[in-house]
């Protein structure tokens, strides 16, 4: 069964309720060479059913943004400022036990490399079932001891595992549930990971470059699957990728990140058709297009900066072809609102 994954017309006047709101989220990593501000003052709103893309080069803070939402930033990283309001409650100040109830149940995450994301020593069915057990999804009795020996629960969990595997398009799920990760192809492994994420029917799916490690035809299938999940279950998705093409086809809104800063935000149509930030313009110039007969791809000059030794001012200014003297000054760079939800952080505006 194939689904077209073109953007569908959204109803204009009914705005769905707010699901997640980040306010000034700041995550830092102390390193020997200095403090790295991996995510610096990130703010955005995500509505129910929305598909948001976060784009940027490696090291721009996309993944850390996702991990910060789940409070899984690896040591020695630390969230030092901001709020992450999920259904109105701040995740960053929740007690650990409360946070664990949200992880995997309300907010699930899909990782980049399926091969290393599945635990090699457990059958995939057990890895999907584990989430159900943690969050007590199909339990009929209380108390961990009675649950442990509850035959009906075990059967119900098994049934749910098979159903989720079928939902994500794994053929012959009953047999495949007993297989180990190395017996699956990359695309099927990613489906298993998506099944783990979906098992508890989360409100929000954080997808960290879910297709980067896969070949192109499999990429399209996985994006189809994510689209189907979004449409059928109303699950919101934050998709992190460095691939603008994937975002353009999948997402409703885009955030462009550079060196921990949000540089630009808008709907997919706005940003692709009319990029405001010189960095976004540069990114789009890198994309080869079939429609235009272009001789050369224009790469952005220079390299991603060393985050521990950022120049004063805008971190993109050393590579920017429109940089002005004040861009290199140590001054505030506010987000400029150009229209509703249309934001850019650049002194040109």
């Amino acid at each position: 069964m194939m689904f077209s994954w073109k953007l569908e017309d959204q109803p204009v006047d009914t705005t769905p309720p707010l699901l997640l709101e980040l306010r000034n989220l700041t995550t830092v990593f102390p390193t020997r060479r200095g403090l790295v501000r991996a995510v610096d003052g990130m703010s955005f709103m995500l509505r129910e059913g929305e598909k948001l893309g976060i784009v940027g080069e490696s090291g721009s803070g996309k993944t850390v943004t996702l991990l910060s939402i789940l409070r899984l930033v690896p040591h020695p990283g630390e969230i030092v400022d901001g709020e992450a309001l999920f259904l109105g409650e701040d995740l960053l100040h929740k007690p650990r036990t409360e946070m664990r109830k949200i992880r995997g149940k309300e907010i699930a995450m899909i990782f980049q490399d399926p091969l290393t994301t599945l635990n090699p020593v457990f059958p995939v069915g057990e890895q999907i079932r584990e989430s159900l057990g943690i969050h007590n999804i199909v339990s009929s009795s209380n108390g961990w001891l009675s649950r442990l020996f509850d035959r009906r629960r075990i059967a119900a969990e098994q049934e749910r595992v098979i159903q989720v595997m079928r939902d994500v398009g794994i053929p012959s799920p009953v047999e495949r549930a007993k297989n180990y990760p190395h017996q699956f192809s990359g695309g099927m492994q990613q489906r298993v990971i998506i099944a783990i994420a979906l098992s508890c029917e989360p409100h929000l799916l954080l997808a960290d470059e879910p297709t980067t490690a896969l070949d192109v035809t499999i990429q399209a299938q996985i994006m189809d699957l994510l689209n189907k999940i979004n449409r059928e279950h109303g699950t919101s998705v934050i998709l992190v990728t460095h691939n603008l093409g994937v975002v353009a086809e999948f997402c409703d809104n885009i955030i462009v990140m550079y060196a921990g800063w949000m540089m630009e935000k808008g709907t997919v149509e706005e940003v692709i058709a009319d990029p405001k930030h010189p960095y976004t313009q540069g990114l789009l110039r890198c994309l080869p297009r079939i429609s235009e007969k272009r001789e050369k791809i224009h790469p952005i000059p220079g390299l991603v900066p060393d985050l521990a030794r950022l120049p004063p001012g805008c971190p993109f200014s050393p590579r920017c072809d429109q940089a002005m003297p004040e861009c290199k000054e140590d001054r505030p760079f506010p987000l400029i609102e150009l229209g509703e939800g249309r934001l850019v952080r650049c002194l040109l505006y």
Binding site: L72, M109, D113, T116, T117, N119, P120, V121
Partner: protein
């Protein structure tokens, strides 16, 4: 399926033991020194005829290939010959001493694992913490310290100074233990002899610690480094992202993977514990195989050395076989 493969591996032990028998036979003959000369104290008042008689008795007058044939044909039937010095069947002599060696090796193994496992896990989880630094320094010490020196030190402190534990031996003479298996701790439990159990355990502590310290140190370091490697993996992050409690993230998802390299090292160490305890046995007067072998080597007691080496080889091969089988359970990617 797995049972058939295991059986195949068990059967493969036979040719290995055959090879070991030939090699140890030839090497013993290559060592300088003649058993009869040594027995006679370098000649003197012993007549040529007596020496000839002894040589004939031990088959040492026959050509080498005939001696080898005699040795192998008897060995297949489970007869490893008679000791030159003790004048008793080698199999009996070994059977008498082997339980003591096994008991000591098991004691050292249990001590090593009980100490190394929590240290390895906790120092990885709390990397660079005070506990990590102290235990890794301790592990470094444990690897570097010779077992005989540690043994003497422990004996001085706990037996001589504090008088908490006995100096030497396996059990008090008045414990009245009835031997069943030859493992005194096990025998005490089987016969319900409480006094003997306490006595045998008290005797076992210091030798086990001396023998097991190096092993504990090695295993702790391997487990720590494997845990550090595994804790960085994406699947550990996924386990956390599922909402699993940190204890299970470590104990279930990480440890199961970290055990795979660790089990290999433990398996090799078991061979070392069984074969490398001559020094500890000597320090603590432990009546095990190691001391018997040392005496046999000095006396060029060919049959006894051959028999003992074959026992060592057998335990080593068996330990490796067990590790290989365990491996298939731990790592689904591996089949026998």
């Amino acid at each position: 399926m797995r049972a058939i493969k295991v059986l195949e591996r068990v059967l493969a032990v036979i040719p290995i033991m055959f090879g070991v028998a030939i090699v140890v036979f030839l090497f013993m003959r290559l060592t300088p020194g003649d058993p009869v000369d040594i027995m006679m104290g370098g000649g003197g008042y012993v007549s040529e005829g007596e020496i000839e008689n002894l040589r004939r008795e031990f088959n040492l007058d026959k050509p080498l290939h005939v001696q080898l044939y005699i040795f192998l044909s008897h060995a297949i039937r489970g007869d490893l010959g008679n000791s030159y010095v003790k004048r008793a069947p080698v199999t009996e002599l070994i059977a008498e001493r082997l339980p003591a060696t096994i008991e000591l090796a098991l004691g050292a193994l249990i001590f090593g694992l009980v100490v190394a496992t929590p240290i390895g896990i906790i120092s990885a989880v709390k990397q660079y913490s005070a506990l990590d630094r102290v235990s890794m320094a301790g592990a470094f010490l444990g690897i570097s310290m010779p077992a005989f020196w540690l043994g003497i030190l422990l004996m001085l402190i706990f037996s001589v100074r504090l008088r908490w534990l006995p100096v030497a031996g396996r059990i008090d003479y008045d414990a009245g233990l009835q031997t069943v298996t030859g493992l005194y701790v096990l025998d005490s439990i089987l016969t319900g002899n409480k006094a003997a159990l306490i006595s045998s355990l008290r005797h076992l502590v210091l030798p086990s610690v001396s023998l097991g310290a190096a092993m504990a140190a090695t295993v702790a370091r391997i487990l720590r480094s494997s845990m550090l490697e595994v804790l960085r993996q994406d699947y550990v992050m996924l386990a956390r992202a599922k909402g699993l409690v940190e204890f299970l993230v470590v104990a279930k998802h990480a440890l199961r993977n970290a055990l795979i390299p660790t089990v290999t090292v433990v398996g090799l160490q078991v061979g070392v514990l069984l074969g490398g305890n001559m020094i500890v046995e000597t320090v603590f007067g432990w009546p095990g195989l190691g001391r018997l072998v040392v005496q046999a080597i000095f006396a060029r007691d060919f049959p006894l050395v051959q028999g003992a080496v074959m026992v060592y080889a057998f335990t080593f091969v068996t330990a490796n076989l067990i590790v290989d089988v365990l491996y298939t359970y731990l790592n689904p990617k591996i089949t026998l």
